[in-house]
Symmetry: C2
Subunit: 232 residues, 2 copies
Protein backbone atom coordinates (compact mmCIF):
# COMPACT_ATOMS: atom_id res chain seq x y z
CA UNK A 1 0.00 0.00 0.00
CA UNK A 2 1.83 3.11 -1.17
CA UNK A 3 0.97 6.77 -1.29
CA UNK A 4 -0.75 6.47 -4.66
CA UNK A 5 -3.32 4.09 -3.25
CA UNK A 6 -3.81 6.05 -0.06
CA UNK A 7 -4.38 9.40 -1.68
CA UNK A 8 -8.01 8.90 -2.79
CA UNK A 9 -8.75 7.58 0.67
CA UNK A 10 -7.39 10.65 2.36
CA UNK A 11 -9.25 12.95 0.04
CA UNK A 12 -12.49 11.49 1.38
CA UNK A 13 -11.72 12.67 4.89
CA UNK A 14 -13.40 15.86 6.04
CA UNK A 15 -10.16 17.39 7.24
CA UNK A 16 -8.32 16.95 3.98
CA UNK A 17 -11.07 17.31 1.44
CA UNK A 18 -10.16 20.85 0.52
CA UNK A 19 -6.40 20.44 0.37
CA UNK A 20 -4.33 20.44 -2.82
CA UNK A 21 -3.03 17.15 -4.16
CA UNK A 22 0.59 17.72 -3.27
CA UNK A 23 -0.17 18.19 0.41
CA UNK A 24 -2.35 15.11 0.48
CA UNK A 25 0.50 13.18 -1.09
CA UNK A 26 2.85 14.49 1.57
CA UNK A 27 0.66 13.22 4.36
CA UNK A 28 -0.06 9.93 2.61
CA UNK A 29 3.64 9.14 2.85
CA UNK A 30 3.39 8.95 6.63
CA UNK A 31 0.40 6.62 6.81
CA UNK A 32 0.11 3.01 7.83
CA UNK A 33 -2.81 0.66 7.19
CA UNK A 34 -3.93 -1.60 10.05
CA UNK A 35 -6.41 -4.45 9.72
CA UNK A 36 -8.20 -5.54 12.89
CA UNK A 37 -10.66 -8.19 14.03
CA UNK A 38 -13.78 -7.38 16.01
CA UNK A 39 -12.90 -6.62 19.60
CA UNK A 40 -9.30 -5.69 18.89
CA UNK A 41 -8.11 -2.69 20.87
CA UNK A 42 -6.81 0.28 18.89
CA UNK A 43 -5.73 2.20 21.97
CA UNK A 44 -6.74 2.61 25.61
CA UNK A 45 -7.64 5.82 27.36
CA UNK A 46 -4.62 7.51 28.93
CA UNK A 47 -2.32 5.82 26.46
CA UNK A 48 0.19 8.29 25.06
CA UNK A 49 -1.09 9.54 21.75
CA UNK A 50 1.02 8.32 18.86
CA UNK A 51 -1.30 8.83 15.91
CA UNK A 52 -4.77 9.64 14.75
CA UNK A 53 -6.93 7.32 12.69
CA UNK A 54 -9.30 7.18 9.76
CA UNK A 55 -11.76 4.32 9.28
CA UNK A 56 -11.47 2.74 5.86
CA UNK A 57 -13.91 -0.12 6.41
CA UNK A 58 -15.62 -1.88 9.29
CA UNK A 59 -16.44 -0.06 12.51
CA UNK A 60 -14.82 1.37 15.61
CA UNK A 61 -16.32 2.20 18.98
CA UNK A 62 -14.95 4.88 21.26
CA UNK A 63 -15.71 4.20 24.88
CA UNK A 64 -14.76 4.94 28.46
CA UNK A 65 -14.30 2.20 30.98
CA UNK A 66 -15.98 3.03 34.25
CA UNK A 67 -14.69 2.10 37.70
CA UNK A 68 -17.38 -0.53 38.24
CA UNK A 69 -16.49 -2.34 35.04
CA UNK A 70 -19.27 -1.03 32.85
CA UNK A 71 -18.28 0.71 29.67
CA UNK A 72 -19.88 3.82 28.26
CA UNK A 73 -19.83 3.95 24.48
CA UNK A 74 -19.12 7.51 23.46
CA UNK A 75 -19.36 7.06 19.72
CA UNK A 76 -19.48 4.47 16.97
CA UNK A 77 -17.66 5.26 13.75
CA UNK A 78 -17.75 3.79 10.27
CA UNK A 79 -15.97 4.26 6.95
CA UNK A 80 -14.90 7.84 6.30
CA UNK A 81 -14.78 8.97 9.92
CA UNK A 82 -11.62 10.11 11.67
CA UNK A 83 -10.86 10.13 15.35
CA UNK A 84 -8.22 11.16 17.89
CA UNK A 85 -6.81 13.93 15.70
CA UNK A 86 -7.49 16.52 18.36
CA UNK A 87 -5.77 14.44 21.01
CA UNK A 88 -2.77 14.17 18.73
CA UNK A 89 -2.46 17.93 18.47
CA UNK A 90 -3.11 18.80 22.06
CA UNK A 91 -3.24 16.47 24.95
CA UNK A 92 -0.65 13.86 24.33
CA UNK A 93 -2.98 11.22 25.81
CA UNK A 94 -6.11 9.64 24.44
CA UNK A 95 -9.21 10.68 26.42
CA UNK A 96 -11.15 7.52 25.46
CA UNK A 97 -10.47 3.92 24.46
CA UNK A 98 -11.05 2.62 20.93
CA UNK A 99 -11.81 -0.90 19.73
CA UNK A 100 -12.88 -2.46 16.43
CA UNK A 101 -16.48 -3.70 16.29
CA UNK A 102 -16.38 -5.66 13.04
CA UNK A 103 -14.14 -8.15 11.28
CA UNK A 104 -12.30 -6.98 9.36
CA UNK A 105 -11.89 -3.33 10.25
CA UNK A 106 -9.32 -1.38 8.27
CA UNK A 107 -7.81 1.73 9.81
CA UNK A 108 -5.51 4.30 8.34
CA UNK A 109 -3.00 5.42 10.94
CA UNK A 110 -1.52 8.88 10.51
CA UNK A 111 1.48 9.83 12.61
CA UNK A 112 2.06 13.18 14.24
CA UNK A 113 4.89 14.53 12.11
CA UNK A 114 3.07 14.78 8.80
CA UNK A 115 0.03 16.29 10.45
CA UNK A 116 1.95 18.88 12.44
CA UNK A 117 4.00 19.81 9.40
CA UNK A 118 0.85 20.18 7.38
CA UNK A 119 -0.66 22.34 10.03
CA UNK A 120 2.25 24.73 9.71
CA UNK A 121 2.52 24.65 5.96
CA UNK A 122 -1.07 25.00 4.90
CA UNK A 123 -3.15 27.60 6.65
CA UNK A 124 -6.33 25.96 5.36
CA UNK A 125 -5.91 22.87 7.51
CA UNK A 126 -6.52 24.79 10.75
CA UNK A 127 -9.93 26.15 9.77
CA UNK A 128 -10.83 22.78 8.24
CA UNK A 129 -10.11 20.99 11.49
CA UNK A 130 -11.88 23.64 13.49
CA UNK A 131 -14.89 23.13 11.23
CA UNK A 132 -14.88 19.40 11.67
CA UNK A 133 -14.41 19.66 15.43
CA UNK A 134 -17.25 22.14 15.55
CA UNK A 135 -19.54 19.73 13.81
CA UNK A 136 -18.74 17.09 16.38
CA UNK A 137 -19.32 19.63 19.09
CA UNK A 138 -22.75 20.41 17.68
CA UNK A 139 -23.52 16.69 17.39
CA UNK A 140 -22.55 16.20 21.03
CA UNK A 141 -24.65 19.16 22.10
CA UNK A 142 -27.57 17.55 20.32
CA UNK A 143 -26.90 14.31 22.10
CA UNK A 144 -26.83 16.09 25.44
CA UNK A 145 -30.12 17.71 24.53
CA UNK A 146 -31.49 14.31 23.63
CA UNK A 147 -30.33 12.71 26.88
CA UNK A 148 -31.65 15.57 28.97
CA UNK A 149 -35.17 14.64 28.04
CA UNK A 150 -36.77 12.60 30.77
CA UNK A 151 -39.18 10.34 28.92
CA UNK A 152 -37.56 7.31 27.31
CA UNK A 153 -39.98 7.37 24.39
CA UNK A 154 -39.13 10.99 23.67
CA UNK A 155 -35.42 10.21 23.65
CA UNK A 156 -35.97 7.37 21.19
CA UNK A 157 -38.20 9.52 18.96
CA UNK A 158 -35.59 12.25 18.82
CA UNK A 159 -32.88 9.80 17.99
CA UNK A 160 -34.92 8.23 15.21
CA UNK A 161 -35.63 11.64 13.70
CA UNK A 162 -31.93 12.35 13.47
CA UNK A 163 -31.08 9.09 11.70
CA UNK A 164 -30.58 8.94 7.95
CA UNK A 165 -33.62 7.34 6.33
CA UNK A 166 -34.86 6.52 2.88
CA UNK A 167 -38.44 7.05 1.81
CA UNK A 168 -40.56 4.14 0.62
CA UNK A 169 -43.82 5.63 -0.52
CA UNK A 170 -45.02 7.65 2.45
CA UNK A 171 -43.13 5.60 5.04
CA UNK A 172 -39.57 6.39 5.99
CA UNK A 173 -37.27 3.43 6.49
CA UNK A 174 -34.44 3.61 8.99
CA UNK A 175 -31.68 1.04 9.15
CA UNK A 176 -30.28 0.80 12.67
CA UNK A 177 -26.50 1.02 12.51
CA UNK A 178 -26.21 -0.26 16.10
CA UNK A 179 -27.33 -3.40 17.83
CA UNK A 180 -30.49 -2.70 19.84
CA UNK A 181 -28.55 -3.43 22.99
CA UNK A 182 -26.07 -0.71 22.12
CA UNK A 183 -28.77 1.69 21.02
CA UNK A 184 -30.45 1.26 24.38
CA UNK A 185 -27.22 2.09 26.18
CA UNK A 186 -26.75 5.08 23.90
CA UNK A 187 -30.16 6.39 24.91
CA UNK A 188 -29.65 5.71 28.62
CA UNK A 189 -32.33 3.04 28.85
CA UNK A 190 -32.40 -0.73 29.22
CA UNK A 191 -32.83 -3.06 26.23
CA UNK A 192 -36.14 -4.14 27.72
CA UNK A 193 -37.52 -0.62 27.69
CA UNK A 194 -36.42 -0.14 24.07
CA UNK A 195 -38.06 -3.39 23.08
CA UNK A 196 -41.31 -2.45 24.80
CA UNK A 197 -41.41 1.01 23.26
CA UNK A 198 -41.03 -0.39 19.76
CA UNK A 199 -43.67 -2.99 20.46
CA UNK A 200 -46.14 -0.47 21.83
CA UNK A 201 -45.71 1.84 18.87
CA UNK A 202 -46.13 -1.14 16.61
CA UNK A 203 -49.35 -2.11 18.39
CA UNK A 204 -50.52 1.45 17.99
CA UNK A 205 -50.07 0.85 14.30
CA UNK A 206 -47.69 3.55 13.23
CA UNK A 207 -44.30 1.82 13.03
CA UNK A 208 -43.06 -1.56 11.87
CA UNK A 209 -39.89 -3.00 13.32
CA UNK A 210 -38.07 -6.03 12.00
CA UNK A 211 -34.52 -6.91 12.82
CA UNK A 212 -32.44 -3.80 12.31
CA UNK A 213 -35.04 -2.02 10.20
CA UNK A 214 -37.63 0.43 11.46
CA UNK A 215 -40.37 1.62 9.12
CA UNK A 216 -42.16 4.77 10.26
CA UNK A 217 -45.65 4.78 8.79
CA UNK A 218 -46.78 8.06 10.31
CA UNK A 219 -43.89 10.46 10.73
CA UNK A 220 -46.06 13.08 12.40
CA UNK A 221 -46.46 10.77 15.40
CA UNK A 222 -42.70 10.62 15.75
CA UNK A 223 -42.42 14.40 15.53
CA UNK A 224 -45.22 14.84 18.07
CA UNK A 225 -43.46 12.49 20.51
CA UNK A 226 -40.11 14.21 20.01
CA UNK A 227 -41.80 17.52 20.73
CA UNK A 228 -42.91 16.32 24.11
CA UNK A 229 -46.39 14.96 23.48
CA UNK A 230 -47.40 12.27 25.95
CA UNK A 231 -47.19 8.94 24.17
CA UNK A 232 -50.63 7.46 24.58
Amino acid sequence: MDATELRPLLRELPHFRALPADLVDAIAGGCKLRTLDAGAIVFLERDPCRAFFAVRSGGVKLYRSQPDGREQVVNILHAGATFAEAALLTFGRYPVSAAATESPTELLEVGPEPLLRLFREDERLGPAMVASLSMRLVALVERVEELSTIQAGERLARWLLRQPSRMDGSTSVIELALAKKELAAHLAMTPETLSRLLRRWHEDGWIESERATVRVLRGERLVALADGAADG
Copy 2:
Protein backbone atom coordinates in the same frame (compact mmCIF):
# COMPACT_ATOMS: atom_id res chain seq x y z
CA MET B 1 -12.06 51.36 26.23
CA ASP B 2 -9.10 51.21 23.88
CA ALA B 3 -6.71 48.49 22.83
CA THR B 4 -4.40 49.13 25.78
CA GLU B 5 -7.12 48.26 28.26
CA LEU B 6 -8.36 45.27 26.28
CA ARG B 7 -5.01 43.62 25.84
CA PRO B 8 -4.63 42.12 29.34
CA LEU B 9 -8.18 40.86 29.02
CA LEU B 10 -7.47 39.07 25.77
CA ARG B 11 -4.31 37.53 27.10
CA GLU B 12 -6.39 35.71 29.69
CA LEU B 13 -8.35 33.86 27.01
CA PRO B 14 -7.30 30.29 26.27
CA HIS B 15 -7.10 30.92 22.55
CA PHE B 16 -4.78 33.88 22.77
CA ARG B 17 -2.72 33.05 25.81
CA ALA B 18 0.27 31.88 23.82
CA LEU B 19 0.29 34.62 21.22
CA PRO B 20 2.87 37.41 21.03
CA ALA B 21 1.89 40.88 22.18
CA ASP B 22 1.73 42.48 18.76
CA LEU B 23 -0.86 40.00 17.52
CA VAL B 24 -2.96 40.44 20.62
CA ASP B 25 -2.84 44.18 20.04
CA ALA B 26 -3.95 43.69 16.47
CA ILE B 27 -7.01 41.75 17.53
CA ALA B 28 -7.78 44.09 20.42
CA GLY B 29 -8.31 46.87 17.90
CA GLY B 30 -11.36 45.05 16.51
CA CYS B 31 -13.11 44.46 19.82
CA LYS B 32 -16.20 46.01 21.32
CA LEU B 33 -17.33 45.86 24.92
CA ARG B 34 -21.03 45.20 25.63
CA THR B 35 -22.70 45.49 29.01
CA LEU B 36 -25.94 43.57 29.51
CA ASP B 37 -28.61 43.05 32.15
CA ALA B 38 -29.77 39.63 33.27
CA GLY B 39 -32.01 38.08 30.66
CA ALA B 40 -30.70 40.16 27.77
CA ILE B 41 -30.28 38.17 24.58
CA VAL B 42 -26.80 38.11 23.05
CA PHE B 43 -27.92 36.21 19.97
CA LEU B 44 -30.51 33.63 18.95
CA GLU B 45 -29.87 30.28 17.36
CA ARG B 46 -29.85 30.47 13.56
CA ASP B 47 -28.89 34.13 13.67
CA PRO B 48 -26.14 34.87 11.20
CA CYS B 49 -22.84 34.83 13.04
CA ARG B 50 -21.32 38.28 13.29
CA ALA B 51 -18.82 37.83 16.10
CA PHE B 52 -17.57 35.63 18.86
CA PHE B 53 -17.56 36.61 22.51
CA ALA B 54 -15.50 36.52 25.67
CA VAL B 55 -17.05 36.89 29.12
CA ARG B 56 -15.39 39.64 31.15
CA SER B 57 -17.77 39.56 34.12
CA GLY B 58 -21.19 38.20 35.01
CA GLY B 59 -22.55 35.08 33.35
CA VAL B 60 -23.96 33.82 30.09
CA LYS B 61 -26.11 30.78 29.37
CA LEU B 62 -26.11 28.96 26.06
CA TYR B 63 -29.39 27.21 25.38
CA ARG B 64 -31.62 25.72 22.74
CA SER B 65 -35.30 26.50 22.56
CA GLN B 66 -37.35 23.39 22.04
CA PRO B 67 -40.53 23.14 19.98
CA ASP B 68 -42.75 22.82 23.05
CA GLY B 69 -41.37 25.98 24.61
CA ARG B 70 -39.00 24.42 27.08
CA GLU B 71 -35.41 25.49 26.89
CA GLN B 72 -32.42 23.22 27.26
CA VAL B 73 -29.42 24.90 28.82
CA VAL B 74 -26.33 23.67 27.03
CA ASN B 75 -23.74 25.52 29.05
CA ILE B 76 -23.27 28.29 31.57
CA LEU B 77 -20.19 30.45 31.22
CA HIS B 78 -18.46 32.90 33.51
CA ALA B 79 -15.51 35.30 33.38
CA GLY B 80 -12.69 34.11 31.15
CA ALA B 81 -14.74 31.84 28.93
CA THR B 82 -15.21 32.36 25.21
CA PHE B 83 -18.02 31.14 23.01
CA ALA B 84 -19.18 31.04 19.40
CA GLU B 85 -15.68 31.26 17.97
CA ALA B 86 -16.12 28.01 16.09
CA ALA B 87 -19.40 29.17 14.61
CA LEU B 88 -17.67 32.32 13.45
CA LEU B 89 -15.07 30.34 11.55
CA THR B 90 -17.29 27.72 10.05
CA PHE B 91 -21.03 27.73 10.01
CA GLY B 92 -22.08 31.27 9.53
CA ARG B 93 -25.00 30.68 11.91
CA TYR B 94 -25.12 30.27 15.66
CA PRO B 95 -26.13 26.73 16.67
CA VAL B 96 -27.50 27.85 20.07
CA SER B 97 -28.97 30.96 21.67
CA ALA B 98 -27.11 33.01 24.29
CA ALA B 99 -28.43 35.24 27.05
CA ALA B 100 -26.94 37.02 30.06
CA THR B 101 -27.79 35.51 33.45
CA GLU B 102 -26.51 38.29 35.74
CA SER B 103 -26.65 42.07 35.98
CA PRO B 104 -24.32 43.42 34.88
CA THR B 105 -22.68 41.04 32.43
CA GLU B 106 -19.79 42.41 30.41
CA LEU B 107 -18.93 40.78 27.11
CA LEU B 108 -16.05 41.37 24.77
CA GLU B 109 -17.22 41.11 21.20
CA VAL B 110 -14.62 40.14 18.61
CA GLY B 111 -15.51 40.57 14.95
CA PRO B 112 -14.64 38.12 12.20
CA GLU B 113 -12.01 40.12 10.31
CA PRO B 114 -9.34 40.30 13.01
CA LEU B 115 -9.83 36.66 13.90
CA LEU B 116 -9.68 35.41 10.32
CA ARG B 117 -6.63 37.53 9.61
CA LEU B 118 -4.95 36.23 12.72
CA PHE B 119 -5.74 32.73 11.70
CA ARG B 120 -3.87 33.23 8.46
CA GLU B 121 -0.97 35.19 9.88
CA ASP B 122 -0.09 33.17 12.94
CA GLU B 123 0.13 29.46 12.54
CA ARG B 124 -0.06 29.00 16.31
CA LEU B 125 -3.65 30.18 16.53
CA GLY B 126 -4.99 27.13 14.68
CA PRO B 127 -3.53 24.56 17.07
CA ALA B 128 -4.50 26.76 20.03
CA MET B 129 -8.12 26.81 18.93
CA VAL B 130 -8.08 23.12 18.16
CA ALA B 131 -6.78 22.56 21.66
CA SER B 132 -9.47 24.65 23.26
CA LEU B 133 -12.20 23.07 21.15
CA SER B 134 -10.86 19.66 22.10
CA MET B 135 -11.15 20.48 25.75
CA ARG B 136 -14.77 21.42 25.27
CA LEU B 137 -15.28 18.24 23.33
CA VAL B 138 -13.86 16.23 26.22
CA ALA B 139 -16.03 18.15 28.67
CA LEU B 140 -19.11 17.39 26.60
CA VAL B 141 -18.15 13.75 26.33
CA GLU B 142 -17.94 13.69 30.11
CA ARG B 143 -21.34 15.27 30.35
CA VAL B 144 -22.77 12.67 28.00
CA GLU B 145 -21.18 10.01 30.15
CA GLU B 146 -22.73 11.61 33.20
CA LEU B 147 -26.18 11.80 31.65
CA SER B 148 -26.01 8.24 30.37
CA THR B 149 -26.02 6.97 33.89
CA ILE B 150 -29.48 5.87 34.89
CA GLN B 151 -29.59 6.57 38.62
CA ALA B 152 -30.27 10.20 39.52
CA GLY B 153 -28.09 9.97 42.65
CA GLU B 154 -25.19 8.70 40.60
CA ARG B 155 -25.55 11.57 38.16
CA LEU B 156 -25.52 14.08 40.98
CA ALA B 157 -22.52 12.43 42.66
CA ARG B 158 -20.53 12.52 39.43
CA TRP B 159 -21.39 16.13 38.87
CA LEU B 160 -20.36 17.10 42.39
CA LEU B 161 -17.05 15.30 41.99
CA ARG B 162 -16.26 17.37 38.92
CA GLN B 163 -16.98 20.70 40.59
CA PRO B 164 -14.22 22.92 41.92
CA SER B 165 -14.12 22.70 45.72
CA ARG B 166 -12.07 24.06 48.57
CA MET B 167 -11.05 21.94 51.54
CA ASP B 168 -12.10 22.91 55.05
CA GLY B 169 -10.40 20.46 57.34
CA SER B 170 -11.37 17.06 56.02
CA THR B 171 -14.60 18.25 54.38
CA SER B 172 -14.70 19.62 50.86
CA VAL B 173 -16.89 22.63 50.29
CA ILE B 174 -18.59 23.14 46.93
CA GLU B 175 -20.26 26.38 45.95
CA LEU B 176 -23.04 25.75 43.46
CA ALA B 177 -22.66 28.11 40.53
CA LEU B 178 -26.21 27.36 39.34
CA ALA B 179 -29.59 27.71 40.91
CA LYS B 180 -30.79 24.30 42.11
CA LYS B 181 -33.59 24.48 39.58
CA GLU B 182 -31.06 24.86 36.79
CA LEU B 183 -28.79 22.21 38.22
CA ALA B 184 -31.69 19.79 38.24
CA ALA B 185 -32.40 20.53 34.58
CA HIS B 186 -28.69 20.12 33.82
CA LEU B 187 -28.77 16.66 35.39
CA ALA B 188 -32.02 15.66 33.70
CA MET B 189 -34.04 15.38 36.89
CA THR B 190 -36.76 17.42 38.59
CA PRO B 191 -35.98 19.97 41.32
CA GLU B 192 -37.93 17.77 43.72
CA THR B 193 -35.68 14.79 43.11
CA LEU B 194 -32.57 16.91 43.61
CA SER B 195 -33.96 18.29 46.84
CA ARG B 196 -34.78 14.79 48.14
CA LEU B 197 -31.39 13.40 47.25
CA LEU B 198 -29.60 16.16 49.15
CA ARG B 199 -31.93 15.69 52.09
CA ARG B 200 -31.43 11.93 52.19
CA TRP B 201 -27.67 12.23 52.06
CA HIS B 202 -27.88 14.83 54.79
CA GLU B 203 -30.00 12.50 56.95
CA ASP B 204 -27.42 9.79 56.34
CA GLY B 205 -24.99 12.22 57.88
CA TRP B 206 -22.35 12.64 55.24
CA ILE B 207 -23.18 15.94 53.58
CA GLU B 208 -24.44 19.32 54.71
CA SER B 209 -26.36 21.52 52.33
CA GLU B 210 -27.25 25.13 52.93
CA ARG B 211 -28.33 27.54 50.24
CA ALA B 212 -25.82 27.30 47.41
CA THR B 213 -23.16 25.56 49.50
CA VAL B 214 -22.64 21.81 49.80
CA ARG B 215 -20.19 20.45 52.35
CA VAL B 216 -19.09 16.88 51.73
CA LEU B 217 -18.08 15.33 55.04
CA ARG B 218 -17.18 11.91 53.70
CA GLY B 219 -15.84 12.12 50.17
CA GLU B 220 -15.51 8.35 49.87
CA ARG B 221 -19.31 8.04 49.97
CA LEU B 222 -19.53 10.39 46.99
CA VAL B 223 -16.92 8.41 45.08
CA ALA B 224 -18.67 5.14 45.89
CA LEU B 225 -21.97 6.50 44.60
CA ALA B 226 -20.37 7.88 41.45
CA ASP B 227 -18.83 4.47 40.87
CA GLY B 228 -22.23 2.86 40.79
CA ALA B 229 -22.79 1.74 44.38
CA ALA B 230 -26.46 1.55 45.28
CA ASP B 231 -27.30 4.51 47.47
CA GLY B 232 -28.78 3.05 50.62
